[in-house]
């Protein structure tokens, strides 16, 4: 099957999936003859499960995660595994993490978890790690080296200052537009760990890195940002094929820096505006991004979404499953050397729901 027709199938299949919620074959796996095996995995992020009181949780956020789990289970062929991109909880409460994990337990397949700031700052990740294990780790799958980082750390002095309660620290971090917010960082200890981890990996081995915050600098005011992004990128640049997948921004973002392709995940809970729509500050949204549609809040799931990733020849094609909008595929284009949105909106021809202001 040619690459183009396979993409047609992906796009078409995804739209049908969302419309009918019936299982159908969306990916032709027997594609390509590269040395690497092709496979798919699913990617769900940012559910922000919120406890109201007792066993009562905010219905809207629950619904987003429940639907993502249901649609992921319908993917055929079945993804090899699922990544969860962070921010399971809104305020990191054990009740919220447990409730989120209870919904995620409905996934058929192994789930690998990434730490989000909303999971972390109430107890510096103690409960999350107790339930899910280490917050940074790596593994190999069908010739691809996967690395998970905890990128939402910040200055030690701020984290460990005398807080009245952990919840007070959590609420400082939970506010995205906090004027006294702290920048995210991977930190020296994890960068040293990563350097060591990558020593055993061949330069031609494809690498996929998962972080919660973008390992690139887009807008500091909302922490669409990692302070030591360049240092982490420098560790990854010697490798031929690198992809970074991140959550946190609740919107489609696409970029290429050297050998590294970047893709952001949609949130299952709610969308965030593009930073440029806040006129008082400059931001650096990557030019390769074809922005998601402007949200229509009257549709509860609009401008939320979840993804499945098609890995072939060490490159990642990201399919965005978007309730209430046409699905998107952002695929690596070998001829230009970066990911390209397959809907291929020319700048001038972009329809008005894509114009954010």
């Amino acid at each position: 099957m040619s690459r183009t027709s396979r993409r047609e199938l992906l796009r078409h299949g995804g739209a049908l999936l969302a419309a009918s919620s019936l299982p159908l074959s969306v990916v032709e796996v027997a594609y390509g003859q590269g040395s690497e095996q092709n496979f798919t995995f699913a990617y769900i992020s940012d559910s922000h499960i919120t406890q109201v009181k007792g066993n009562e949780f905010v219905r809207n956020w629950d619904r987003g995660l429940i639907r993502a789990v249901a649609e992921t289970n319908l993917l055929d062929p079945k993804p090899d595994f699922i990544f969860y991109g962070g921010d399971i909880a809104q305020l990191g409460k054990p009740a919220e993490i447990d409730h989120g994990l209870e919904i995620l337990a409905g996934l058929s397949g192994d789930v690998h978890y990434v730490m989000g700031e909303h999971d972390y700052y109430v107890d510096l990740g103690d409960y999350w790690r107790k339930q899910l294990g280490p917050d940074h780790y790596s593994f190999d799958h069908k010739g691809v080296h996967f690395v998970v980082l905890n990128s939402i750390l910040t200055h030690e002095a701020w984290m460990h200052q005398k807080w009245e309660t952990g919840m007070q620290r959590m609420k400082q971090m939970a506010r995205l537009d906090n004027p006294s917010g702290q920048p995210f960082m991977v930190g020296e200890a994890q960068r040293n760990w990563l350097r060591k981890d990558l020593r055993k990996v061949k330069k031609e081995t494809p690498i996929v890195v998962l972080s919660h915050s973008p390992l690139q600098k887009i807008y500091k005011g909302w922490n669409f940002w990692t302070d030591d992004a360049e240092q982490v990128q420098a560790l990854l640049q010697p490798f031929g094929k690198v992809t970074v997948l991140y959550g946190h921004v609740h919107q489609i973002q696409t970029n290429q820096i050297g050998n590294i392709s970047f893709h952001a995940a949609m949130a299952t809970a709610w969308p965030w505006p593009y930073p440029a729509t806040y006129r008082q500050q400059n931001s650096y949204l990557p030019k390769l991004t074809v922005e998601m549609n402007r949200a229509d809040p009257f549709f509860e799931r609009d401008a939320t979404g979840w993804q499945f990733i098609d890995m072939h020849s060490g490159r990642t094609d990201v399919s965005y499953l978007l309730p209430d909008n046409a699905n998107r595929v952002v695929a690596f284009d070998e001829s230009v050397g970066h990911p390209v949105d397959q809907t291929d909106y020319a700048e001038a021809g972009r329809k008005s729901p894509l114009q954010h202001y």
């Binding site: 922000h48 919120t50 109201v52 905010v58 809207n60 506010r175 995205l176 537009d177 005011g221 909302w222 709610w270 969308p271 965030w272 505006p273 930073p275 729509t277 806040y278 006129r279 008082q280 402007r294 949200a295 229509d296 809040p297 009257f298 008005s352 954010h356 202001y357």
Partner: protein
Amino acid sequence: MNLKIKIRATSIAAICLVGLSCPVLADEFDNADLERWQMEYMAVVEEGEKLFHGGLGNPNTVSCDQCHPNAANTHPETYPKFQQQLGRVVALWEMINWCLQNPLETEMLAADDPKLIALQAYITEERKGVELEPGKH
């Protein structure tokens, strides 16, 4: 405010009576007044900023800034406009009430409720400097 204006009017009348030149009454304010008015306004903006960031006390705890950091994507400069989902032209405060009833799952506010005015003050202040585009989509 009314009291101060009255006192000033009385003193101006007294000056006029003793035959000195009379200033124009209608424009009678100075920099101190401007500063005070700005302070009054900013106090309401700050109140709105608190309400917007979790200060509304709605039981489900969802706050405006969760979808609208720095009030982005609220677009006060485009109201009044035809809100296609409601089928009529609405003002910004009506959309705020829509958000209160839906994502925030709480009661709507009266149009002249100081809280609703404070929310509008904050939202508009964050969008300061953007051209007015009523009706825009």
